[in-house]
């Protein structure tokens, strides 16, 4: 049991210290897209970038899923979480136009949020009444994809690792003591 726990602790440490993505610049722009220069999409908020394009969710999600794994240098894919669109106001910025929000994450490390705003159908017709026009670079686009990357400091990860390992040890000791009582 002791050996198994030690192995687990070492593997967890390696996983947590593994070099990951450094910033939003690690992520490629969507093909055939225009980078947003709107306020809030450039330098105002760290690690945010946005693209106007004709790409929809079924293309955008696999595209950045693969990109995130490559940027994280892991041989296994990240976890994919689907969030309610309104959560984008918390994790991207307030306000954010949105119709879907997904998160790719390597637990206890970094995560990348992908917020999509699809207010046009692929044929160019509007999805709902009053859909705003998505205009950038003098062109009219069908979707807007916003990315936000959350990274963590290596020192924080080491401290959290220590905390997890000590918690396991203390829980095990105390649990045995309570059961014996």
């Amino acid at each position: 049991m002791n050996k198994i726990f030690k192995t687990f602790a070492v593997i967890l440490l390696i996983y947590m210290l593994w070099p990951g993505s450094k910033g939003i610049s690690d992520f490629k722009p969507l093909p055939d897209s225009a980078k947003s220069t709107l306020s809030g999409d450039t330098v105002q908020i760290p690690n945010v970038s946005a693209y106007f394009s004709y790409q929809f969710r079924n293309f955008v999600i696999p595209f950045y899923y693969k990109n995130f794994q490559e940027a994280s240098h892991f041989p296994f894919p990240p976890l994919k979480l689907n969030h309610p669109p309104e959560y984008s106001w918390t994790v991207i910025k307030k306000p954010t136009d949105t119709t879907y929000l997904e998160e790719f994450i390597y637990p206890l490390r970094d995560s990348l949020y992908i917020n999509g705003f699809e207010n046009h159908h692929p044929d160019g017709s509007k999805v709902f009444y009053g859909s705003p026009e998505l205009r950038e670079d003098g062109k009219l686009w069908y979707t807007k994809t916003t990315l936000r990357l959350y990274t963590s400091n290596i020192l924080v990860r080491i401290l959290v690792w220590f905390g997890i390992v000590f918690s396991f040890i203390y829980i095990s000791k105390l649990g045995r003591s309570i059961l014996k009582e």
């Binding site: 969030h83 709902f128 918690s167 396991f168 649990g175 309570i178």
Partner: protein, 472 residues
Amino acid sequence: MNWLKNNLDRVLYILTLFLFAFIPLYPKFPLLNISGTYVAVRLEDLLIGLTLALWIWYLIINKNFSFFTKDNIGRSFILFFAIGCLSLFSGIFLTHSVVPHLGLLHLFRRIEFMLLLPVIATVFTTRKRFMTALMVLVMTLAAVNIFALGQKYLDWPVISTTNSEFAKGLPLKLTPGARVNSTFAGHYDLAVFLDMALILLTTLIFAFRKLIKPMFLILGVVSTLVLVMTAARVSFIAAFVGLIAALILSKKKKYLLLLVIIAMAIAVYPSQLRDRFISTVTINLLDLGQRYEGRNLNQQLENKLNIPTLYYRISSRSATGASFASPTAGIPIDIAPGEPINVTDLGVYRSFEIRLNIEWPRAVNAFLKNPFLGTGYASLGIATDNDFLRSLGEVGILGTTAFILVLLSIWKTIYKGIKSDEKIIRFFSAGSLSIIIVFLINSVFIDVFEASKVAALLWMILGLNIGLIRNK
């Protein structure tokens, strides 16, 4: 100052005795608002804070920290708080899922409620003090019931915290069909309090002389009536299971049949509680009942959008026109296509859907983001309406295991009381253990360990029991 130092034990006794009545009875008037949440600091928080400060001073004077160093309950408390701090640190700096001041507020709330256990166990060391606390609790229960009946039949004011507007402390009136909450600011909190009361009354009725029994019986009947008026389904089931456990632990199994008959009669008797039980089966489980189809084609199409509140407009309807149902049709005005038309069905449907589609998946996602430590206190918003998922989401496997150790160590200590020769210890211990069961059942649909009033009372009652056992 010297006087206070010499009389600290007595001051703590009076203060905690006062808290036994003040916490359940004082409505949730906000005292200090916190930005980013409508959970406010209240007068009771200050009183509990003062009590905790005096208790720590008392421990320092007596140089007695054995609760935290030698006692398994105290050590499990420390472990739970430490993992809570680590989870908060990870939530702020690793998963970036916590607003620091809100996370700290929620951590302090848990520490505040839970530390009432050792405070009470330290202070209520004599039989006389224990009996006085029981007397205060009985009188408090009577007052809570009277106030609930007053709200229902005499239009007495209601202070609620069920939404951000109500939480400002405005005195409201119960609207027709609304459920009583007495002084608890939410009908579920009142129902859990009544669960606790019914269980203690049931077990203690066997411990007291004949003279007191009728009083407990009357109080029990009124409490049951008010519990039915809250129409809280899970709390009713929890009370039923808790009472079964209480009778078994009290070795009074012969009353089980009577309990089953009473519960069946209540479940069958026409009431909002019965209607909600029926709706649970027909709407949530069997997916039956008439649904709203939309007033026009626009509204039907809007429902197919992933954000159904957006306008679709295909033809003649004004863009600013209301998409809601007509109030004259007897259909709830804010109904959306696909929802049940009947008002009770609609309430039951939404109550379950919000859990199933919003709150519970949010907690599961939080757990997946950091299985060991969760995403930190306050990262899941105000409620998850399932304390097991909330715990896994907020503090992960480690925090949840530490909390299980807290409950396990308390259970093992109180369980010893069941074997006691003294009637009062035996029956009170049976009641306390059944209350833990009641809390666990309620936790499936309510964040009961975070519901300030009932959570504080739980730790106080458990502390009372532990004090009684350790000082017999």
